[in-house]
Amino acid sequence: MSKLGQVVEAVENYNEFVLKEVKRARADEAFGQQMVDRWNDVKAKTPIGTAPTGLKLPRLALPEIDEAGEITRYLLGEGLPGEFPFTNGAYREMYLEPLRELEAGSSGKVGKNGKHGPSKNGKNGAKAAPSKAVEVEEPTRLFSGLGLAEDTNARFHFLTGHQRSARLSTAFDGPTLYGIDSDAEGVFGKIGEGGLAIDTYEDMVRLYDGFDMGSPAFSASMTISGPAPIIMAMYIAAAKKRFGAKVVPNLRGTIQADIFKEVQAQNETIFPTEASLRFLCDMIEWTTREMPRWYPVSISGYHIGEAGATPVQQAAYTVSNGFAYAEMLAARGIPVDQFGPRLSFFLDCGLDVEYIALARVSRRIWAIGMRDVFGAGPKAQMFKLHTQTSGRSLVAAEFKNNLTRTAAELMLAYMNGTNSCHSNSADEPFTTPSEEWIRLAAHGQAILLDESGIFKHTMNMLSGSPGMKAVERAVETAMLEEFRQIEEFGGVLPAIEHRYQRSQIQNAAHRYEQQIYDGTRPIIALTKYNDLKDEMPEVKMVRTPRAKKQLQVDRLAKFKKRNAEKAKRALDKLADVVESGKNCFPTLIETVEVCSLGQITGRLQEIVGHFRPMV
């Protein structure tokens, strides 16, 4: 049995454990009383805040139950926000505005080790500890990348003018995603389209110009997987060049680096899977030790969803991929409490009903699996989530409706307690967002979190409704069934080799498309209320002018010429380290100082081969 099979058992065992404890609370008076006391204690210590209208509201909303069995079901089955199994949230307080007047001694308590159920490592029980100070960073993180590094840099500065903190998210162009240099044959038209062009670490210096890369208030996310270790090395090299070597342990951010989902859905991978995973593990091993504030992998369902998977498939493949990474890293001898807290997740949020509870269920399964199968401590049990509203749900016909679609999706994402969020721009069916529409996308989140009172006064505001619970149960059952299917192949990697996830996703995509046209899925203004047909809207297209593309090629030529001699030696050294089987990431950080992305990719492909695409 792979670890995934054990996870299925662990979740089933945990569910049984909860049921048993519910019965016990009803039968065993002392235990029942203990649970009721805890419940009353939590309620009593919940601070009361005041809405601008003067309305008094508890900072934490709890169901109105007073019976020991139901209380136990709640506390163990879903847990308070920030408590195992984290159904209601990885953290407490996430979107709440700071209390205007802090009542003494009334700060909330959090289960320190987040444990209630049977555990394979360590003790049971929750010790109370004061919660952390309220985070000042908002979840908003908008994905941007266009043209050359300086263009994206300008966009970053524009965006940070519309949010509280410098939380950047970087999109790369096609050649960069495939580890190809801008001067390669046949790619000229692709330079700076759909993201920015990065060929050398000097581009990376330009990209984050004007931002304090080592500041605790700055974080950067980079959405790239195939050549992720090379790009990560460039980021580190750029930071070192600007701020010196001492900056490295302070670097905060995320790099996607998710090879599994590339092979399953997104297709932006360049080395054979085994080699990609080796480079990835080299990077994770190094960064989790040297850069403790960095997330070196973002296990992503977004692209699985966008490729057409159902929400359940999306979450099931994503979470199972997460367990596969955990299994791999543990097998390499990295302690689970070193890598576990540095794994992060990324889900799509569309308009299907499953999205009401998708992240809630994912958090729960992850926490149980990490604790009971991998023996992880509380920090490594938390499923930390970035959400993006669904790009494929946006349509070109009467595209301004996309604002409404995105707003509804944002609501679902925040109901699910996402830790970080990107809202799509309405013009995305056509183009990399123009300033007009990305500004509205950023404002959408601010309206929901800052302007509206929905999320800022009370944690758990919308969780636990009967409808949400019904979806939760159905989604969990379906996800575990997907795990069993994958386990039938012997786990995630063998299932990938059999094209299992790919073919499931493709079938779902085809069904989705058919449902649009057979009326099962009405799309407003496209298949329903579509009387304005055939009018192409006037949308400002964001494209990279020829001269800019040429500038990128010229810059690269200069870099290559300047470093020609050094590059040869650096590549030979890198090749030696790779062939030796040692961790090649530290060498990579040196290599990028004199070599371009394409030079490095090319050399590595000579050694490990090319990725062979799957149909």
């Binding site: 790619v187 038209g189 054979p272 498309e513 058919q514 046209y517």
Partner: protein, 390 residues
Amino acid sequence: MAAPIRVLTAVPICDGHDSAINTINLEFIRHGIEVVYLGYHRYATDMVRAAIQEDVKALGISSYNGGHVEFFSEVASLLKKQGADYIKVFGGGGGTITGNDEVIMRRNGIDKIFFAGTSLTDMVDYVHKQYGGPHKPFRGRKPSADMQLARKLTEIEDRYAGRKGKRSTLLRKASAGRLSKEKRRSKKGGTRVFGFTGPGGAGKTTLIDELVLRLRKREPKARIAILSHDPSVVGAGALLGDRATMINSQNECVFMRSMATRGQAGGLSPATEDCLKLLAQSGFDYVIIETVGTGQEAMPFQSGLVDKTVLVMNPDYGSRLQLQKIVMLDLADIVVVNKSDQERARTATAEIGRRLDQNKRSQVLVSTVANRHRDAGVDELCDLLTEQNV
């Protein structure tokens, strides 16, 4: 019955968005179209070469991350330069391709852009209506060798279309013109023909592609032909997807043709033998033919045109008893146990070895891991196949 329409579909370089094209491929197949799928992240030059070799009526490109004006135009201009603009180019990219873009692209030789919101039915109808006619004769200057060969293969394939039941007549005719091995050998240099067969999922396609990589390295001037087969969907078209995974075979020195079985059992198409004969006479150094995944009773290479037959096996064929039933184990010159890094491979190799010993022929057993870069087993297979004394 007219021959099915063949189209080639692909996604441009640096673009991995294959969701739309996969859905469109499926829909085309369901409506009787044969789709040669080249895959995603593909160069314009690869698309044009493939379209010519496959002699498709049209080339469909699905582009989602920009640069489409340049890319589509490059494809059209390459086709034109080679006198192959009888192959029409169509495509789409959701909302990313604007009306203004379309004007430029059409001016540059693109036949049709499907805008966002076009239904699958509309696309299928368009292909049937616009690309359903007979093949256009070459115009202008002398067509290239690839173009001529590709067209002859089309003619052979079309001749067989809709002639179910009359196959034997055609076959007899074909056999009459069959060249003896000796006669072919006497041609300059000689063409070596290798036949690959085996159950689905054994890794035949990957193995052949790795072989091509080695042949290209060892004999850079060698010309290689590949005749690959995929099954037709009952009553419908076919997805011919081998090109998408055969990354090393998308190369100037390789002529590749993908064929649908068009209702014939046994791993090959009714037209295969004639097509193979033509390829064997067309001056290639190597001709490689790959069957679809076959069953136990299949014996696809009975024509005498194949010099060496290779049976590719998966270690998990079931019990030892199953081996007795596999006919090709008696006939193959070389038996490959691929995926030999799997747990069961050692047992499998031993069992197959004993099975081959019963035959008392000089059959060779090779273990490979085709999807491992620089695999020594594949090197060995390459040595065996290229040995001079057959």
